[in-house]
């Protein structure tokens, strides 16, 4: 048992029908027991909803709030950061440039302070200007301090 105008009854109750159509539905309800019954059910339901008194349970509300606030925090590793693709690409390029610069600083020779030229850089000029002795001692020179001590005679002597 059904009537295809039952939905119109609901619209009539909500005041959403034009006046002509509303008159037609009212006339139909007078002759259609199904729609008439539906009209009564809708009105009854509306009345029940309107008559319902919201009496919040303070204890229940407190518990619900506690559950919300006590929800388990998300760890740093599970947090996600949403970035626009252009911004992400820019950050990646910046990091690669910094890494390249750091490697360059480590590999490149250190500049000497205040225009100082280490002797290695002028060694050729010195060689050209000064007469060379027959024996070059520079291969023994590792910048260490001279030492002197006593020892038992070496067997070679």
């Amino acid at each position: 048992m059904s009537c295809n105008l039952t939905e119109k009854v609901s619209l009539l109750i909500d005041g959403e029908l034009a006046q002509d159509e509303a008159e037609q539905i009212k006339q139909h309800m007078a002759s259609c027991s199904i729609c008439n019954r539906a009209n009564e059910d809708f009105l009854s339901l509306r009345q029940q909803i309107k008559s319902y008194e919201f009496a919040p349970d303070r204890e229940a509300r407190r518990q619900a709030l506690a559950r919300i606030l006590a929800s388990e925090p998300v760890s740093l590793w599970k947090k996600k950061l949403a970035l626009p693709v252009p911004l992400f690409a820019f950050v990646m390029l910046l990091m690669m440039a910094l890494a390249g610069w750091a490697i360059f600083l480590r590999v490149a020779p250190q500049p000497t302070p205040a225009g100082l030229r280490p002797v290695d850089q002028v060694d050729d000029a010195i060689r050209a200007q000064t007469p060379q002795p027959g024996f070059d001692l520079s291969r023994f020179d590792h910048g260490q301090r001279a030492e002197i001590y006593t020892a038992r005679r070496t067997p070679q002597q």
């Binding site: 000497t112 205040a114 225009g115 100082l116 030229r117 280490p118 002797v119 850089q121 002028v122 010195i126 060689r127 000064t130 060379q132 002795p133 027959g134 024996f135 070059d136 001692l137 520079s138 291969r139 023994f140 020179d141 590792h142 910048g143 260490q144 301090r145 001279a146 030492e147 002197i148 001590y149 006593t150 020892a151 038992r152 005679r153 070496t154 070679q156 002597q157």
Partner: protein, 317 residues
Amino acid sequence: MSARKAWISALMILPLLLTSDGGGHSAVRGSGKAGLKRIKFQIATVEEIGGQRHVLSTSTIEGPPGTDFHINLESRRFKMDARFLTDLLADNSLKVRAKLETRRLYGYSAKNLPLYEEDVQGQTLSLGFEEEILLLPFGRQGDDRLSIEITPVLTGQPAYLATGEMTPPQINIDDQNLSGVINIEASKVPHAFAVEAALLEDGREVARSQSTLTLEEAREMIFEPLDPANAELAAKPLALNLTVAQFTQNCSADRMTINFDLYHLEKPGENGRAMIAANWQGVANAGADLRYDLSKYYSGLSGRKYELRLNIKPADL
């Protein structure tokens, strides 16, 4: 070969110029010198490459006990002056005071001025005749290492002739592959000096002290008041910290360059000092009085004029 001979001759001349031990004190005054033997120092310059030794040059210095020598090493970037003052001790061992001065070319400034790294170190070594001195001009690190081995040998040759004349030091270059790089010099000068110090009050000696000093070694001399009743000097003894820094000879006189501090000891036997004269210097002729006017610095309780009188001369040990 002729160049080598010229080089050896040049090295021989220098020690001969320095060998005279000064007029009066060169003679043997005590019987202790009669038995002294000459000491030979064998000097070998050795390069070690991967544990393999290669002798670059050998030389010997021979002279009476107390012969001093220098070893100079000079190359394009590096210069070393190693000076050795040697003394034969009573127990037939050697006391060697070594002073190393190195100078290494580090680089050039923005104004193209050379910058050097300099180092000075001194050590007093005690060694027997079964030991040797190892000098490493560039330290001991690295695969290529240069070492100068100095081996003392007590010879059977007398250090002094029967006439009392000292036999002069000698340098022999046995093998010279380092011509122009290594130079050796030797000399014999007194190492011991007899010092008499006196405090004069208005020209009258009121306190004195005497001691024997070793060349380049400071010694504290405490003045003893001649009058035991001198309460001030007894309560606060006067002391002299004296060093004979250098001995030089020329045809007219032997001279000693000295420096000293003069101070009061606050209490006998304690370390407290009240300085009267700090780092005073002078040049004394051997055996001649050297006077310092202390009027501006020391007047004692009496307000009189005080002088310090020093008399220094080489001493035979």
